[in-house]
Subunit: 208 residues, 2 copies
């Protein structure tokens, strides 16, 4: 398969290409992509080479063709049902954001330890389920990915429940390293890493 | 300076090394780091080579020495004051998270278009300022980085205000590509990219 970092960059290209499409732009060059993401044009062309030969020398890539090629290469042309556990401040923001994004990811279930409290307080127009109904929600709604947005102390317990219920991957926002069996993919998010990155660039005044 | 992706990995190593330190672990090998992050040991040693020769063949790296080396290489051994604009759901979660992280980043100012509404609703124990007082807040509190967590339609306007007030870098969570002058570093966050990454791994059943 494709190397993991190349894959990550494809997601970034896709987001940018969609933004260009919204503005009515019809083509983009590898030079422009390399400039936007501060990487070499050669690397961009190598990444896009995984999509098959899409570009034209001197002309660049047709936006619609590139978008579909990226969606297909990323394997996101199908729908994905997602369960979010922890309907607090962050969780609610993530649910609203995912809905507006109009991508293939659908928050199919929102679960919490205190469901009634959460729905009122957070004006979610979707029912918040009790965490105990996670197994049946995952089965009935064909949920493949779980998002964890509970406090750090509850994270491993929630991860165990998600794995037991049958998800294939977990996106963890809680400040804790969670363990999961081989074959269950886990990504831990920590936005402070981006602040560190920015701080370093200010210090060294170097290009991102 | 160091390549940008190498720098990013250093942040990831640091977070992991801190977690090991909390558990009382005293040393770590490049093999363990390579396994944790699914990259080659050679790449880990190349990254850590930027810190000077810290490791011992066969023994690995002393945790405390490695941590300080990483902090120093990342340039985050000094304090950084940050302004967060948009004290909504996401913004409030980010403020609380940053405080608990006990890192060098201090949320020195929280600003919003509707400050009174926000402080009550979001139980922030810090005053929320009106966005109009951004310039003086940045000057008086020596703020170097701005975080944007307002709706997409307001993002560019807020970015312009942050730049005018004198920040050196912007971390943008709003779903909009913001423009900033050369020399002002901008990072756009989109957590959906991680969902796409996980979806792809489920599809191809490949290692992250
Ligand atoms: N990774 C990042 O960059 C980042 C950024 C911001 C916040 N966070 C983290 O995200 C998490 C949520 O932050 P928040 O500000 O929304 O907190 P919050 O307190 O507003 O929300 C937490 C929610 O989890 C629920 N909960 C607690 N234990 C549970 C359990 N065992 N099962 C199910 N639900 C449970 C609570 O009822 C609550 O609704 C925290 O761990 C925080 O540190 C991470
Ligand atoms: N990047 C990601 O992965 C991600 C994830 C979740 C949410 N988001 C985005 O983060 C933003 C905030 O989300 P939320 O759920 O917290 O929304 P929210 O409505 O709860 O909060 C937005 C806040 O911004 C304030 N505001 C609006 N216009 C302003 C202006 N011009 N100046 C100053 N303050 C202003 C509002 O008063 C409000 O307090 C949205 O743009 C959302 O799409 C991004």
């Amino acid at each position: 398969g494709m190397p993991s970092l190349s894959l990550f960059r494809l997601s970034l290209y896709l987001r940018y290409v969609k933004a260009l499409e919204c503005k009515g732009v019809e083509s983009v060059s590898s030079k422009e992509l390399s400039h936007r993401f501060s990487i070499s044009s050669a690397l961009v062309r190598k990444d896009l080479g995984f999509l098959g030969s899409l570009g034209k020398r001197g002309v660049g890539y047709d936006i619609a063709v590139l978008k579909n090629g990226l969606i297909s290469a990323l394997g996101i042309d199908k729908h994905w049902n997602v369960a979010l556990v922890g309907a607090g401040r962050l969780g609610t923001a993530l649910v609203r954001y995912t809905r507006r994004a109009e991508g293939p990811f659908r928050i199919a279930a929102i679960l919490d330890k205190y469901p009634q409290r959460m729905t009122k307080a957070r004006d979610l127009d979707m029912e918040v389920l009790h965490i105990d109904s996670l197994p049946e929600a995952v089965q009935e709604r064909d949920i493949k990915i779980g998002i964890i947005s509970v406090p750090g102390s509850a994270a491993q317990d929630v991860a165990d429940k998600l794995v037991a219920a049958g998800v294939g991957a977990i996106l963890n926002f809680a400040p804790a390293y969670i363990e999961a069996p081989d074959g269950i993919f886990v990504h831990n998010v920590d936005f402070i890493v981006y602040l560190e990155n920015l701080a370093h660039h200010i210090n060294t005044n170097s290009d991102i």
